[in-house]
């Protein structure tokens, strides 16, 4: 396949969140970083595990685990920096990832259910990888984590 043709095929970053492999469109991904330290302080925003320092900037760490794999992500020193478009201005965030991330090109088959956070699927050597809508995954994960809090309180 020529490079020209290759440019026409969308590319995705495949990452591992908890036990699940998922993909994000390449356009929203800035870089993969290794950060030895995650700084934590009290807050009440679901999914935010802390912040990391990157080139003098403070990036919030957003754990997609509760939304996509049903559990908080294991501790890691690797983060995928993505750009969120939540309000007026974009913001870079760091997503904890386990293991290596992979840049792949492929055609996404749109998901039948557009209500969920999966926008489509990639076929990678026979493995079906879900492509996420990042904002929907964050919203669902936040809702899940909010449900955990009362459950935890009820058990304590």
């Amino acid at each position: 396949m020529s490079a020209e043709n290759n440019n026409l095929i969308p590319s995705f970053v495949v990452l591992q969140v908890g036990a699940r492999r998922i993909a994000l469109p390449r356009e929203g991904v800035a870089e993969l970083i290794a950060s030895p330290l995650i700084y934590k302080f009290p807050h009440t925003t679901p999914l935010i595990a802390g912040v990391v320092l990157r080139r003098g900037r403070i990036l919030p760490v957003l754990d997609l685990g509760p939304g996509v794999s049903g559990a908080l992500s294991p501790s890691t020193r690797f983060f995928l920096v993505v750009e969120r478009h939540t309000s007026n201005a974009p913001e870079k965030c760091a997503i904890p990832v386990q293991g290596a991330c992979e840049l792949v090109a492929g055609i996404m088959v749109p998901a039948a259910d557009l209500e969920g956070y999966v926008t489509g699927h990639l076929n990678l050597n026979g493995e079906q990888i879900d492509v996420l809508d990042l904002e929907k995954a964050i919203a669902l994960g936040a809702a899940n984590q909010n449900e955990w809090i009362p459950a935890t309180e009820a058990l304590s």
């Binding site: 700084y39 934590k40 302080f41 009290p42 807050h43 009440t44 925003t45 935010i48 912040v51 320092l53 403070i58 990036l59 919030p60 957003l62 969120r84 939540t86 309000s87 201005a89 913001e91 965030c93």
Partner: protein, 183 residues
């Protein structure tokens, strides 16, 4: 006439600086502007200047403390930040708000050279609690907002449920309508 250079007098870093107090609650460290702190006391040193609230409408505020003819609501730091029970040993008496904050330890004084706004992904109570984030000794720390310990709404609720108490708490022992005890 050429201007003589005084290299020793030229500031190396022209960024604004702010003196801050580093304090900790449980395993977490925070900073607060030194200019917003009137006094730092040991909880032991408060002695008989503490008055129980008649109606503690907020779980984090159960007492009033009187210092130098002024009264302050005593805010439990660990309850304010929703942290596990801790052992407060110091009190930060704030300057421009009627608030005294119970904290575990005062770590040190430091010079803050950078104050960054909270990232937009934060959407919870931390937007009230903190002025932003700073970096001290290569650590990211939240900068407590002195007005965030008790919001205007919370102050109003405390006043509504305990009318006039903040003004009368400073009376000498015997004239107070509340039993005095230690924090």
């Amino acid at each position: 006439m050429t201007q003589q250079a005084y290299p020793g007098l030229i500031p190396r870093d022209a960024r604004p600086k702010e003196q801050v107090v580093l304090f900790s609650i449980g395993e977490y460290s925070f900073v607060i502007s030194a200019s917003s702190v009137q006094e730092i006391r040991s909880t032991d040193g408060l002695g008989g200047n503490v008055v129980d609230l008649d109606r503690p409408v907020l779980s984090k505020v159960r007492h009033i403390v009187e210092r130098d003819a002024r009264s302050y609501y005593v805010v439990s730091g660990y309850e304010h930040f929703h942290l596990p029970l801790s052992r407060p040993r110091s009190v930060l008496i704030l300057r421009d708000v009627p608030v005294a904050v119970l904290v575990d330890r005062i770590e040190e004084m430091a010079e803050m050279r950078i104050l960054l706004g909270m990232p937009r992904s934060f959407r919870g109570e931390e937007l009230i609690w903190y002025r932003g984030l700073t970096v001290l000794a290569r650590k990211v720390l939240p900068v407590a907002d002195p007005r965030g310990f008790l919001t205007a709404g919370e102050l109003q609720r405390l006043e509504d449920e305990n009318p006039g108490l903040l003004q009368t708490a400073g009376r000498p022992v015997g004239t107070s309508r509340h039993e005095r005890e230690r924090v």
